[in-house]
Symmetry: C2
Subunit: 305 residues, 2 copies
Amino acid sequence: MEFQVTILGANSAVPAHGRNQTSQFVEFGRISFLVDCGEATQHQLKRFKVKYSRIDHIFISHLHGDHYLGLMGLISTFHLNNRVRPLHIYGPKGLDEIITIQLKYAATFLKFPIYFKETIPSGKNLLLELDNIRIYSFPLKHRIPCTGFSFEEKNRPIKLIKEKIQEKKLDIVYIHQLLQGKDVYDGKGNLLYSQAEFCHPTLAPRKYAYCSDTCFDLTLIPYIEDADLLYHEATFMESELDRARSTMHSTAQQAGLIAIKAGVKTLLIGHYSGRYIDLEPLLLEAREVFSQTLLSEEGQSYSIQ
Amino acid sequence: MEFQVTILGANSAVPAHGRNQTSQFVEFGRISFLVDCGEATQHQLKRFKVKYSRIDHIFISHLHGDHYLGLMGLISTFHLNNRVRPLHIYGPKGLDEIITIQLKYAATFLKFPIYFKETIPSGKNLLLELDNIRIYSFPLKHRIPCTGFSFEEKNRPIKLIKEKIQEKKLDIVYIHQLLQGKDVYDGKGNLLYSQAEFCHPTLAPRKYAYCSDTCFDLTLIPYIEDADLLYHEATFMESELDRARSTMHSTAQQAGLIAIKAGVKTLLIGHYSGRYIDLEPLLLEAREVFSQTLLSEEGQSYSIQ
């Protein structure tokens, strides 16, 4: 089952150098999520031909404009496109008030319901559980209340060894038991067909962790550890450490350090300051600490294996 | 003195076919105004290399998202660019509340003051008077409170006939009197130098009228009559008249009719429905009624002569 992240915007603060503000489209099989929604996210969704009508769940990390000012426009477009499916929005205190007041003055009665769930910027909190995935919020240290999000697969689907199944001509009832993770026994308790013989080894469930805006913060580790893919902001280079500290952002080197300490497989950096036209130096700085680092590039998809 | 309108967005409702939502940049000499501010207006300002830091006055016609959702992003960018000059915003009841609540949750204390003036959707009201221009609001009939804006030059500057001045070697004192629109007399009341002889004929002051979203409404005429340039929405073609009526928008033909009845010189249509990829048919429909019609095209400037 495909589990991937498509970058819609990778810049911080203001759009610059053709880069937009933060937003990501996360797909888990046929389920689609939007994570943050900077201004003009709907333009980016169209530009990259993303099937955005499928988005049922939107996660907003915090109420700085570069992470949410595209939300009202997207809601408006859903409405004008005659959406009827409910939309679930997860975000900080205040976001529902901001949405409600704008709908009020526009005298817009949406054709679909919005269900709002307020995120709590302390501890790990389950926001949503679907078939085979759970999405949690966890606290980030920034200038205003802010949370990250982790997308955690429950179990990897069991994959049968087709040749073996065909060779032994297994009955559908037994196949079903194997797919449920069970060995098959006869009435007397003798093992007939084992997981080990008829199924590929089960892979560990996958995890994507998203840290939008945060200072360098080791207390993050328990929430993001062992992620297959960690998105961590890297607004500045280490040469701008003072600025990173005063604005409660991170440097590329710090993002690399967090990735090492959390034992993640791959680090994706983003939220670049407008002062950087060329992003290679940010990538190189993070890679000096953590070699498995990638740059967020708009329109690119990053598969979580 | 240059008086011109640059189109930043000409589409209605949703961005489509590479067209953005409504916004216009109006220049009167060295003074710059922004009129409406759909989502991603700041992107368009950058795209068309508009010197947007000069904008001191923003006029918002109404609180449908396609006319104002770019405002918070622009305010945020002004803030991040260390703007200190005051920003004046003119718009309907509720806009100040929407701005204030978003600044509150972002915990942003702007580096510059915003002065907000609420528009009243009845009668013609003076919003702003600068050296040689007055800006008024006037009511538009739409689904929510909405105003148009008229930009009215007070007087055209008097232009001297240089050859005549040089030929008669006029003293600077007399030139100054002529430039103030006065004839020059000697102490006994005899005419020395007349406006007629030493100055080019004075042109009538110019007027730009802007009608963002409105149904076909003849009560508009007194506010927009004799405009040198009238922007009037033409969301639909006449074949969609029912839809125009139910949504309180206008057709291209109706825009043409208003232009004729108001005796304007040039009509600029815009606010196109996303259903129209090719805009020529809209132009032709309006021109059948009023030949001096132009299409709003993004990035294009329309000079008011």
